[in-house]
Symmetry: C2
Subunit: 212 residues, 2 copies
């Protein structure tokens, strides 16, 4: 009750994709029921945390028995918005952008890269399989034509804010940012920063700790 006042912790949301993956595997091999203990062990968290996470979305399990794999899987898909097929735009058809465009793992998550954008005239019109490279000035019309949902920013840091502005003006409400800069966006636009260098520098820090 009072569902409307319960805030889902960010940490919970970020674990849902992990639950999705474990459940997909179990479902694939035909396992009908799984306990919180089993699932948690596969992911490397406590069963308590898993049950707490799922409890934010109501009683999804069966006491004394466990969780129905295909039911829970369907619920998590729904929560993550995976019942909608999401269309990605990739802005910046460089090495990272084209690598992402070619990534095969999106489809099983109901995600699909539908367009690349760049300013380099030499790249306009290129096709990576089905995916065409358009000029950045076509962002708005192509967004509407191809029903693009998420703008992926893979341009150099210096161009990221400008490109983000264009994406916001084109109507994107979700920005997946690979440029190492803090983007300014209106309140109703979500940004997810994917700053890869942070990860490897964290490792570098641990290496230094170890050797001294």
């Amino acid at each position: 009750m009072k569902d409307e006042f319960v805030v889902i912790p960010k940490a919970t949301i970020s674990r849902l994709p992990l639950y999705f993956r474990v459940l997909s595997e179990l479902d694939h091999v035909g396992v009908p029921i799984v306990s919180s203990e089993e699932m948690a062990a596969k992911i490397g968290i406590t069963s308590s945390q898993l049950r707490k996470d799922l409890s934010y979305f109501g009683g999804l399990g069966i006491r004394g028995t466990g969780y129905d794999v295909s039911y829970l899987l369907a619920k998590i898909k729904e929560i993550l918005g995976m019942n909608h097929h999401r269309h990605l735009a990739i802005i910046g058809a460089g090495k990272l952008g084209t690598a992402l465009a070619g990534y095969g793992g999106f489809l099983q998550h109901n995600l699909e890269v539908k367009a690349l954008f760049d300013i380099d005239e030499a790249k306009i019109g290129w096709k990576l399989g089905e995916i065409e490279v358009y000029h950045i000035s076509e962002l708005k019309p192509r967004k509407e034509e191809l029903k693009l949902d998420i703008a992926t920013i893979t341009v150099p840091a210096a161009a990221a804010q400008q490109v983000t502005k264009a994406a916001v003006e084109a109507g994107f409400k979700a920005i997946w940012n690979f440029a190492p800069v803090r983007l300014e966006v209106p309140e109703d636009v979500h940004v997810r920063n994917e700053d890869l260098v942070v990860g490897v520098l964290t490792l570098s820090h641990h290496l230094s700790r170890k050797n001294q």
Copy 2:
């Protein structure tokens, strides 16, 4: 005092690369002194948090004045292990692996991709600029020859654990994992998971919330 008992929060470590970047820019344009307020504003955090983070490493600022940009920059480099030049191995010479190998941003962080590894005989011997593709069986001798520090895993999920085992046996103590699986490693090996799909599904979740 009692430095040896103070544990640095993980959240603090993960913000150091952001401080490094802001300080690099300031240093580059010749700004000698910066306040916690100015730096924090550029990053989008509170000045309180920035001062707290830095306080774990001792008194790095000057009361009433601020922080000496080049001194603080040097300190953060040292903490992040950036005074050592780190050599990366990339295991998996697919799209993501080769895109990372070609990323230009590593060098300014004192990181360098020195070798690619793969099992596909057709790729062995390829060169991406200076970087050669070796067979995965050469992991150990090449690690020693090229003084490789960090193993980057960009193979498909199904092969990730096996390849990680080989990296651990070759003596790697740091694993930068892009495969969407939980890797089993000995206690003294650090793993950083870079699960890209988590990020984009988080955005997908927010989009669903909004439209419903």
